[in-house]
Amino acid sequence: MASIRLSVPETAAPGEIIELKALIQHPMESGFRRGARGEAIARDIIERFECVYDGEVVFSSTFHPGMAANPLLTFFTRATVSGDIEFRWTDLTGQSWSETATITVE
């Protein structure tokens, strides 16, 4: 199970631009490396990241093998309503992980 860490402010004023951080534990194996015996190590990367807030994808990203292991993203969104902000990662086999943080907007 991948470990996920989020940084989301607990409260924000309506319209305020807030900083979000999302980290997931993942090797992001590039597929370009070789093992000790010279055998190719298969590619195993997260390809897609989405952040859903107030019924809309507010930020998303496509990763290639050039992303470092344990991808950490820092990005922004405008606070609109109180509720959940969902962070979702999907790897190239279709397996996905998600985590939700709650924000109060007042």
Binding site: F32, R34, F59, S61, G66, M67
Partner: protein, 156 residues
């Protein structure tokens, strides 16, 4: 004489195996890095022959990265991020990694600020390129020079 099954002999075998593995790595076409032509091809594939203006995009990265496995970068674009005028995507491209594409970020007015930070891999000293596209289809770019002491993809 050292018996055939002694640790010393095993160690020597392991050593020889390791050296052989290193030689294979050196010969492997998989470690070939992208040339600037690959970067140009990647830009052409994405944006065709549309003009890209070198403005508005700021790409921040350390001038010297001791380790190419994890290099923190921040890209920010000067944009009001309103419904009428916003950045809808930013891509990060490398001229020396095995693949020129590193990451794409999609944004909307709801993103609020056209800025994102990530950690990337770099296969050598190079000029990193970020290209941003506005909702009206205008393209802007910014670059950062990074000296990489220990490249990812070389030392395994």
């Amino acid at each position: 004489m050292v018996p055939e099954d002694s640790p010393l002999v095993l160690n020597r075998r392991a050593m020889i195996g390791g050296v052989g593995g290193l030689a294979l790595i050196g010969l492997s076409p998989l470690t070939a890095s992208a040339a600037p032509e690959d970067l140009r091809a990647a830009i052409e594939e994405r944006f065709g022959d549309r003009s890209i203006e070198e403005a508005r995009v700021t790409l921040k990265a350390p001038p010297i990265a001791e380790n190419g496995y994890s290099v923190p970068i921040t890209v920010s674009v000067d944009s009001p991020m309103t419904e009428q005028d916003h950045i809808q995507s930013i891509c990060i491209l490398s001229e020396r990694n095995p693949l020129p594409n590193i990451a794409d970020f999609q944004m909307s007015p709801r993103t609020g600020r056209a800025e994102v930070s990530a950690r990337i891999r770099l296969g050598g000293t190079q000029t990193l390129l970020a290209i941003a596209e506005t909702n009206s289809g205008a393209l802007y770019s910014g670059t950062a020079e990074i000296v990489v002491t220990l490249a990812a993809c070389v030392v395994l």
